[in-house]
Amino acid sequence: MNERQPGMSLVVQTVTRWLKGFIFLYGVYVILYGHLSPGGGFAGGVIVASTFILLTLSFGRERALGKLGKLMASELDSFGALLFLLIAVLGTAIGGTFFLNFIEKNWPTGNFHLFSAGIIPLCNIAIGIKVAASLFMIFIILAVIRVQEVRGKRKLITTEKRRKER
C-alpha cells in the first residue's frame, strides 16, 4: 500500500470541499441574526468551529491548521473575550453603568431588522469569535497531545514537538 494519506476517503473529502463554505456562512448567519431568531453568538460560534473541525477530520490537521493556525486561534480567542469586555466597559464610559445598552434600540433601521437592538449584535459577534476560536483550539489540543513516558515519568507531549525531536 502507498504511504497513508492523512484524513478520510475521497468521497468525504469531496463533499467537505463543497460544503465547508456553506457551513461557515450558516454559522455567520446564526451569529448575525442572533438577536432576531433562535441562535446567537454561542450557537453560531460552534457552527463556525465545526467547519474547521470537519476540515481536520477529512483532510488531517495540517490542512485545518493552515487555514487557522494555533497561535492565530489563541489570539482570536483572547480577542473575542476582550472585545466583549470592551463593549461592556464602553457602557460604563458612556452611560455610567457596566453593560449599559448605549446604542438606541431601533437605530438605524427600526426594530426587528438586522441593524437594531443596540449592543446585542455586537456582543453576539464577540462571543461568536471567542467560541469558534476556543472550540477549535480544544479540538486541536485533544488531537495533538499524547501521554508519553519521558525519563520514567508520564508526561503530556504535543505530537508536533515529538516529530521535531526525531
Partner: protein, 495 residues
C-alpha cells in the same frame, strides 16, 4: 460603588490580555500580573467599609443582576485580593524554576480571582453559579498544571466531584426559580417570607447546602481536597486552601443560610455537627501524613470545621469567632503553603522523611513556618489562639461545653501534627535525610521571601483585629449576618 465592577472586569480583561501580548517579552507576564493583583488589592481596600448596590446595565434589582457590597463581601474581597497579590509575587521565581508556560498560568490565575470576586459580590443566584464555575474550572486546570500522572489524576477527581457539586447547586437554583420565578437572592428571600417553606424550597435548600459543603470540603464531602490541594503549584495551593474553599464554599453557604433562608435551629445544629466532624476527622487524618502539602491540606478541612462551628453557634460571639478564624486561616494556611513551596523549590521534594536541618539553611522559611505552625495550633500571642479562644468562649456562652471540649482537643492534635513538620523538616532530620544534598540547599530568592515575611508579620499582628470585639473590624460583617433576611431584602430591594 462604581469601582466594584472593576474587581471583576480588571482580572477578566488581564486574563485575556496577558496571553495576547506576553509571548514575545519574557518579563511582561510577571509584571502585568503583579500590577493587576496589586491594583485589585488597592480596589478591595477602597471598598472596605462601604456599602451599596450596583445594577448591571441599569436594570433595577429583581429584573437585572445586582452586585451587593456589604460588610461580609468587603471582608472576603480583602482576603481574596490580599492573598492573590502575595501569590502572584511568590509565583514569579517559583514558576520560573519548576513549571513552564507562565502565560497560561497567569491567565487561569486571574480568571480564578475574577470568579471569586464575582461570587462574593453578586446578589443573583444564577450569576453566583456562573462565577463559581469560572473559579472552579480555572482551579481544575491549575491543579493539573504540572501535567504529571498524579497531578492529572487529582485534577480529574477534583473535576468530577466539583462538577457533581456544581450540578447540585444548579439544580437547587433551578428549583428555586421554578417555585418563585425569580433568581435575585433578596427576591427569593422575600418570596420565602411571604409563602413560607414548602417542600420544593426545602429540597432546593438541601441541594444547595450539599453543593456548597462539597465546594467547602467539609467532611463527609471532602474526598477531593487531600488530592487536589497538594498537586497544584504551591501558590495555587495557597489560593485554593486560603481563599477558594472560603469564597465559593463557606461564604456562599453562609450567605445562603443567613440572608436568604434564615438560620433555623436545625441548620445551626447541622453546621455544628459538620464542624465537629470536619475538625476531628481532618486533624486525625493529617497526623499520619508524610507529604508536607498533603498534611497541610488535611488541616484545611479541620480548620474549616472550626469556622463552620463558629457559624453554627449562631450567636454574635460565635459569628465573630467564625469570621475571625476565616481571616486567620487564610493568613496562616497560605503562609504554610508558601513555606512548603519554598522547601520544594530548594529540596525538590515534599516528603518530610527526606528533609532535615532546614533551619540552618533557610532561616526565613523556617522562621515563618514556625510562626504559622504556632498560629494554626493556637499558641498565644499568634492570631490562631485568639480566634479559637473566641470560638471556644462562644460555645461555652451558648451552653454547649461539649463543643468547646472538641475544639480544644482538635487544637491539641493540630499542635502534635505541626510539631512533626517542625521536627522532621526544620529542626531535626527525616529517615532518608541526605547530608550531601543538604550542603547545596540555600534560602529562596528575595521575591519569594517577601510574601513569607509579610504573612508572618500579619500572623503575629492580626490578633489586634479583635480590638473592640463585636463592634470592631468584624462589626459590619457580623451585623449583616445577625440582621438576617429582612435587612438583606430591605437593602437590595428597598422594601
Amino acid at each position: 460603588m462604581g469601582n466594584v465592577i472593576l474587581l471583576i472586569a480588571l482580572p477578566l480583561a488581564m486574563a485575556f490580555f496577558i496571553p495576547m501580548v506576553g509571548r514575545k517579552v519574557r518579563w511582561l507576564p510577571d509584571v502585568l500580573a503583579n500590577i493587576t493583583t496589586l491594583g485589585l488589592f488597592v480596589l478591595a481596600g477602597q471598598s472596605w467599609g462601604r456599602e451599596g448596590i450596583y445594577t448591571m446595565g441599569g436594570w433595577p434589582a429583581p429584573l437585572g443582576i445586582v452586585l451587593v457590597l456589604d460588610g461580609l463581601s468587603a471582608l472576603l474581597l480583602f482576603i481574596i485580593n490580599l492573598i492573590s497579590f502575595l501569590a502572584t509575587l511568590f509565583s514569579v521565581d517559583y514558576l520560573e524554576k519548576l513549571y513552564t508556560s507562565k502565560l497560561r498560568y497567569y491567565s487561569l490565575f486571574l480568571l480564578m480571582v475574577a470568579g471569586m470576586n464575582g461570587a462574593v459580590l453578586t446578589g443573583d443566584f444564577f450569576n453566583l453559579f456562573v462565577f463559581l464555575e469560572i473559579a472552579s474550572i480555572a482551579s481544575y486546570a491549575l491543579v493539573g498544571f504540572g501535567c504529571e500522572a498524579e497531578e492529572l489524576e487529582a485534577s480529574f477527581k477534583y473535576l468530577v466531584i466539583g462538577s457533581i457539586a456544581s450540578t447540585f447547586i444548579l439544580l437547587g437554583v433551578a428549583l428555586l426559580y421554578g417555585r418563585f420565578a425569580t433568581l435575585n437572592m433578596a427576591d427569593v428571600a422575600s418570596a420565602l417570607q411571604h409563602h413560607g417553606f414548602d417542600q420544593v424550597s426545602l429540597f432546593a435548600l438541601v441541594l444547595l447546602v450539599v453543593g456548597f459543603c462539597t465546594k467547602a470540603a467539609l467532611v463527609p464531602f471532602h474526598a477531593w481536597l487531600p488530592d487536589a490541594h497538594p498537586s497544584a503549584p504551591a501558590p495555587i495551593s495557597a489560593m485554593l486552601s486560603g481563599v477558594l474553599i472560603k469564597a465559593i464554599g463557606i461564604y456562599a453557604l453562609v450567605r445562603l443560610v443567613y440572608n436568604v433562608f434564615g438560620i433555623s435551629p436545625l441548620l445551626a445544629s447541622l453546621f455544628t455537627y459538620l464542624g465537629v466532624i470536619s475538625m476531628m476527622a481532618g486533624v486525625l487524618l493529617a497526623l499520619g501524613q508524610w507529604d508536607f502539602k498533603r498534611l497541610l491540606a488535611y488541616h484545611s478541612i479541620s480548620q474549616m470545621g472550626y469556622v463552620i462551628l463558629g457559624f453554627g453557634l449562631a450567636t454574635p460571639l460565635g459569628l465573630l469567632g467564625g469570621l475571625f478564624h476565616l481571616l486567620n486561616h487564610s493568613l496562616f494556611k497560605s503562609l504554610l503553603f508558601f513555606d512548603s513551596g519554598s522547601v520544594e523549590y530548594e529540596t525538590g521534594t515534599r516528603n518530610l522523611e527526606k528533609m532535615g536541618n532546614l533551619v540552618q539553611k533557610m532561616p526565613v522559611t523556617s522562621g515563618s513556618s514556625l510562626m504559622a505552625s504556632l498560629s494554626i495550633s493556637g499558641i498565644p500571642p499568634f492570631n490562631g489562639f485568639w480566634s479559637k479562644l473566641v470560638i471556644i468562649l462562644a460555645a461555652v456562652q451558648a451552653q454547649r461545653p461539649g463543643l468547646a471540649l472538641w475544639a480544644v482537643a482538635g487544637s491539641i492534635l493540630t499542635l502534635a501534627s505541626f510539631s512533626k513538620i517542625q521536627r522532621y523538616a526544620f529542626w531535626g532530620q527525616g529517615k532518608d535525610f541526605d547530608a550531601k544534598l543538604w550542603e547545596g540547599w540555600k534560602e529562596v530568592p528575595v521575591l519569594m521571601r517577601v510574601p513569607l515575611l509579610v504573612l508572618a508579620v500579619l500572623c503575629l499582628g492580626s490578633g489586634l483585629a479583635l480590638w473592640h470585639g463585636l463592634k470592631g473590624l468584624f462589626g459590619p460583617a457580623i451585623s449583616v449576618l445577625t440582621d438576617g433576611p429582612t435587612a438583606y431584602i430591605a437593602k437590595v430591594l428597598g422594601r
